[in-house]
């Protein structure tokens, strides 16, 4: 049953009345039920682009924070890529001291309002949470991400963001290539050390994947904009419409324009396709294109947007990651009657976050598991008319540890579809490596960097995020941005 935010708040208020923060016992903490995230009713939200998860109420966040046992060994902190003092900020949240909570969060994470929404907490901090372990259910772990989100939203809405201290000007200049999560984090940390920072973005809007990729209903763009405004307020100069490699090469930035160091966080690059027949038919899109049209270009707003959208009725999304879920849920909101996730393994092996899969199901997305695309079939006008799928079964585990899908010969069948969104990852963008041969890349074209410093093989050039990791997550990109910034600050100090 769908419960409204008001209903959930009443329940939380009741629980809160029973305990005092100073006297609550461990046993009592363990007995408090996990707080459900209030969400828009699925039937309503498939008709809008607004955020699905509405966010805890103050009562809810305090109740959820009371569930934290304040473990001495802090297993959650080890699970966090940027080592946030999780018990610390949660204790403040439980006491209702959100100003202190945000200040602890901001010590380690520049973008808690974004991480609270898009981090895969269930495989990071919440995976190692003692409460979840004791209850043998990951869903019973303390909802660290939701508490983080509340504190960050509270700070934003109450203009209570801690001021960033900036060291006196050093006279050194750093270029940040790309304005996604890796770039934003690196830019902030380098700027804090007193260096002049210019961030270069190829698109006409900054934010990278946070703006073109992740949909509004999962990450409102106003929140991203606020973080970028904070960066500008710190004195970071953001140059839009500037493609490093074409508008200016890294050499020129360093040799001619006076940049002392460069951080490359240029992102994922080219969408991958499967190489099956029919992939270039009309109605086949990469998830990047599909999402960029809707998110960055705002094509979901038919009245105002000038970027057109393909009118789909029955959509097949190939892939099982978070991007596939985003594409499927976007398709539904754009008016498709039926949307299928087509995945060659089972739900168990799907890389998407459980919460995303759950939301997708609630919204009526159908899951066609153990099916692999063999061909996309076109009509006489070159448009998608169907998809030929082969049934798979699970075999032995492969290098990734997941059981390998094995095709069952002769099981091919054609299913009717009028559109296909291919969401099987990205390969790296060739541009910077073409124009800057000194930067060593691996066989997939990803930059090779020192694990500790994120330094590339070119002096003064550092890199992080998807250009190094392949397709990863926002928080891992931020973690690398932070590491690289520290190394850049050290490098510049030694110059």
């Amino acid at each position: 049953m769908h419960q409204t935010r008001e209903q959930l708040d009443v329940q939380a208020k009741e629980i809160l009345g029973k305990f005092s923060y100073d006297t609550i016992t461990m046993k009592e903490r363990m007995g408090i039920p996990a707080q459900e995230m209030p969400a828009q009713d699925p039937a309503v939200r498939v008709c809008n682009m607004e955020e699905v998860a509405i966010g805890y109420t103050e009562n809810q966040v305090r109740v959820e924070a009371l569930r934290c046992l304040q473990c001495k060994n802090r297993p959650c902190v080890q699970g966090c890529p940027v080592s946030i003092d999780i018990p610390g900020f949660i204790a403040k949240a439980a006491a209702g001291d959100f100003a202190s909570a945000i200040s602890i969060l901001k010590d380690s994470s520049l973008l808690p309002s974004i991480c609270g929404r898009v981090c895969p907490q269930e495989v990071q901090c919440q995976l190692t949470c003692t409460v979840g372990k004791a209850k043998k259910d990951i869903d019973q772990a303390v909802a660290i991400g939701r508490i983080e989100r509340f504190c960050a939203d509270w700070a934003r809405e109450n203009n209570a963001e801690p001021a960033m201290e900036i060291a006196p000007a050093t006279g050194k200049k750093v270029a940040i290539v790309g304005s996604g999560p890796a770039g934003v984090t690196a830019a902030a940390d380098v700027r804090r050390a007193g260096h002049e920072v210019v961030m270069f973005e190829a698109l006409h809007k900054a934010g990278g994947v946070l703006v073109y990729g992740i949909p509004e209903f999962r990450l409102p763009k106003a929140i991203v904009q606020k973080e970028l405004d904070n960066l500008t307020a710190m004195g970071v100069d953001i140059e839009l419409d500037f493609l490093v490699g074409r508008t200016r090469k890294i050499h020129d930035l360093m040799d001619v324009d006076g940049f002392d160091a460069v951080f490359v966080g240029s992102g994922a690059g080219l969408p991958r396709f499967m190489g099956i027949p029919g992939e270039n038919l009309v109605g086949v899109f990469s998830a990047n294109e599909y999402l960029t049209r809707s998110n960055l270009m705002k094509a979901y707003d038919h009245e105002n947007a000038q970027t057109p959208l393909f009118h789909s009725k029955k959509v097949a999304v190939f892939g099982g990651g978070n991007v596939a879920m985003d594409a499927a849920r976007t398709a539904k909101r754009l008016g498709a009657d039926e949307v299928y996730i087509v995945y060659r393994r089972t739900e168990e092996e799907m890389p998407a976050r459980k919460e995303e899969v759950h939301h997708a199901k609630e919204e009526g997305i159908k899951f066609l598991m153990l099916h692999a695309p063999v061909e996309i079939v076109g009509d006489e006008k070159g448009k998608v008319a169907g998809v030929k799928l082969i049934t798979c079964e699970l075999g032995e585990p492969d290098a990734s540890g997941r059981r390998r899908p094995v095709e069952i010969q002769g099981s091919e069948k054609i299913y009717d579809f009028d559109s296909v969104v291919v969401s099987i990852g990205n390969s790296s963008n060739p541009l910077i490596k073409q124009t800057t041969p000194e930067i060593e890349v691996n066989k997939w074209g990803n930059f090779i960097v020192d694990e500790e410093t994120c330094q590339t093989s070119m002096k003064g050039v550092f890199a992080g995020g998807d250009i190094v990791l392949g397709a990863a997550t926002v928080i891992l990109a931020m973690g690398q941005g932070r590491k690289a910034a520290k190394a850049i600050n050290d490098y510049l100090a030694a110059l």
Binding site: H204, L270, P271
Partner: protein, 277 residues
């Protein structure tokens, strides 16, 4: 923000424009293109070829045919106003080297991007012959500039209102038979490039074409611009825009260009209605 320094109407819906864009002017080479977005949350991104550039003045020139919402809005901007977002130069430059005899074929406003390419080829010692064509006389652009490169420039029009009444493929075929070029370069509407490639194929004349497909970011990220070239899928923005015309799957490319035709026609209608107010 890129200031408009010059604008001239060349025909009913063809305009010449010069923009301030110092970084692009300095870096661009013949064959490259830009992406334009006119600002705000809702403007689309469209690729446009660069007709010419002046690195010293820091300007680029464009020849724009107003055919869709964004190009219509663009040509309605005036000197002194700004184009909000211009990204470039994008794509690989056309390889400028000594081929021997080169025939350049331009159709419609495809003549504009052809100009810097043939100019550069001539400058390094290639023998250059040029054929330009359009539906009718008023759609012939840059004749004077091209005549500097090839004084015997051939002009054809569909309706015979200027030059010879023919398609560009006719003089192209003649040249293949008698002049025997080492390289052909075709720039213009897809259908024209398709038939130019078909014309040169029997003569085994290597034929470069410059593709202008649907794009969003122009940096490789969206993959909307992909075309079949030989047995491979190529991205026009990062692998092109120049390809071997004999290997391009023209029919598929033209179908893909029509992906949004219904929506575009509706939008174009709305836009023109708005402009006439």
């Amino acid at each position: 923000m890129n200031k408009i320094l010059y604008k001239k109407q060349l025909s009913q819906n063809v305009f010449s424009m010069v923009l301030e864009a110092p970084l692009i002017a300095r870096e661009r080479k013949p064959g490259q293109f830009i992406i334009v977005q006119l600002g705000g949350d809702f403007g689309e991104r469209i690729p446009l070829t660069i007709a010419d550039a002046d690195a010293e003045k820091g300007t680029i020139s464009l020849i724009i045919q107003a055919v869709g919402v964004t190009t219509l809005r663009l040509v309605n901007l005036n000197v002194g106003e700004y184009v909000a977002n211009v990204l470039g130069p994008l794509g690989h430059p056309t390889p400028i080297k000594k081929y021997g005899k080169v025939i350049g074929v331009g159709g419609g406003i495809g003549v504009a991007p052809l100009h810097p390419v043939v100019q550069a080829l001539k400058a390094i010692g290639n023998e250059v012959k040029i054929v330009i064509g359009a539906r009718s006389k008023e759609l012939i652009v840059m004749e004077k500039e091209l005549r500097v490169i090839d004084p015997d420039l051939t002009i054809v029009t569909d309706d015979g209102s200027y030059g010879k009444k023919a398609l560009v493929t006719e003089p192209l075929k003649e040249a293949c038979e008698t002049w025997k070029p080492d390289l052909a370069i075709a720039m213009g509407p897809p259908i024209m490039m398709k038939f130019c490639a078909a014309t040169t194929r029997p003569f085994n004349v290597h034929t470069l074409v410059s593709l202008n497909t649907i794009m969003i970011d122009g940096t490789g990220m969206c993959g909307g611009c992909r075309v079949n070239v030989g047995d491979e899928t190529k991205f026009v923005c990062v692998d092109g825009p120049d390809f071997d015309g004999h290997l391009v799957d023209w029919d598929n490319m033209m179908l893909r260009l029509g992906t949004y035709r219904a929506q575009e026609q509706e939008a174009d209608h709305r836009c023109r209605v708005g402009l006439n107010k």
